[in-house]
Symmetry: C2
DNA sequence: ATATTTCGTAGACATTTGTCTACGTTTTTT
DNA sequence: AAAAAACGTAGACAAATGTCTACGAAATAT
């Protein structure tokens, strides 16, 4: 079965019939994004959200010094995009690119609104995603303001072990708000214990 | 008119009729919470979300050293609660208390679910709040992992000027993930410019 | 197969931020 | 009105984290 179909089935209490699913799917644009290619660039408006069927992506902010700060990491069955830009149609401050070759399903804001009207299961899915996202970001903020680099890393390993094989350490360091050098130190210290 | 009625009118595209509003309001428990009293304590399950009619509250995490880390600040027309605990019925790791004497409207998870069924305007409101919250927390995370203390404070002053008169500096420092001493330094430096 | 890039680690040093103590002012409580 | 608590600032010092350079190993491109 189609990965998006399974995904909805898993997350929503109701489902979409197999006949309807063709209509549902017709709102998505299938696309391959090769490693290092962009889904979104700084200054653009985020026209599409991407459901990742296969591959890995990252969202990051580039500061005045030109340093990348990883805001989000995504793998299969995650949605990549900048919500603020997508909803408000304002220029994004983020870049999103493929860390591995990707297969994605793109959808516009208009299609999202249509599909939520038409398919209650999809509406329910989006609500749950928002809820989960709110909970997850709250945890991340708590970690960010309360913990040392060492604890933040330990927490990350606990909560997102699946990212460890997909992204190198300097990317994870950036996600945690530290440099690769500091993460290296932290790991050495933690290992000694 | 009732503050919650105005609030819904402002945020949702549809509204609730004045007769229905009595029914709507009957799901809320009106309560006064005096300064320093708790809405939620560490280890409890968050049974109620609170709509703040009047006053100011804060949510914080207490670490092993006993230090408070401010996770959220709330004033009039904000919702206070721990979403994770509220939704999953798990013990919260946060404290929420009143920073000023408060008037709040409490609502249970069950009532939320009922009201979203019964009042499309309320459902729409909650969706928008989640959306806004997602956008806001994303910004906060970006600030937290990318900016120096000085920039984070400047950003805070820009985005939340209404908090400046309601909460003292050491609370704002904690919200930004720094100590009161560091915030004091940062402000001195910024002033010299 | 070779060259190039990416990656993780290391150490020396700089900068930022935290810790602690102290003090004067303001606010709150008694 | 007096006492106590809360608040902001300051300075000396400590700890955490960042910056930079270098190097070898691994992965990738040519």
């Amino acid at each position: 079965m189609h990965p998006l179909f399974n995904y909805i089935k898993e997350y929503a209490s109701t489902s979409i019939s197999e006949e309807d699913f063709d209509i549902f799917l017709s709102h998505f644009i299938k696309k391959k994004i090769r490693k290092k290619q962009y889904l979104l660039e700084d200054g653009e408006i985020c026209k599409y959200f991407a459901f990742i069927v296969k591959g890995a992506m990252r969202k990051y902010y580039i500061d005045e010094k030109g340093i990348e700060h990883i805001v989000n990491l995504y793998i299969e069955n995650w949605w990549a995009g900048d919500r603020e830009s997508f909803v408000m149609s304002t220029p994004s401050i983020y870049h999103i690119d493929a860390w591995e070759d990707c297969e994605v399903l793109l959808i516009t804001r208009e299609s999202v609104l249509e599909l939520t009207q038409q398919f209650p299961a999809f509406n329910e899915l989006l609500l749950k995603l928002d809820e989960r996202n709110n909970i997850a970001t709250q945890r991340r903020i708590t970690s960010s303001i309360s913990f040392t680099a060492e604890k933040r890393y330990a927490d990350f390993v606990d909560c997102h072990p699946y990212f460890l094989h997909r992204f190198p350490q300097h990317i994870i360091a950036s996600y945690l708000g530290i440099t690769k050098d500091t993460l290296s130190q932290v790991r050495r210290k933690a290992f000694k214990k």
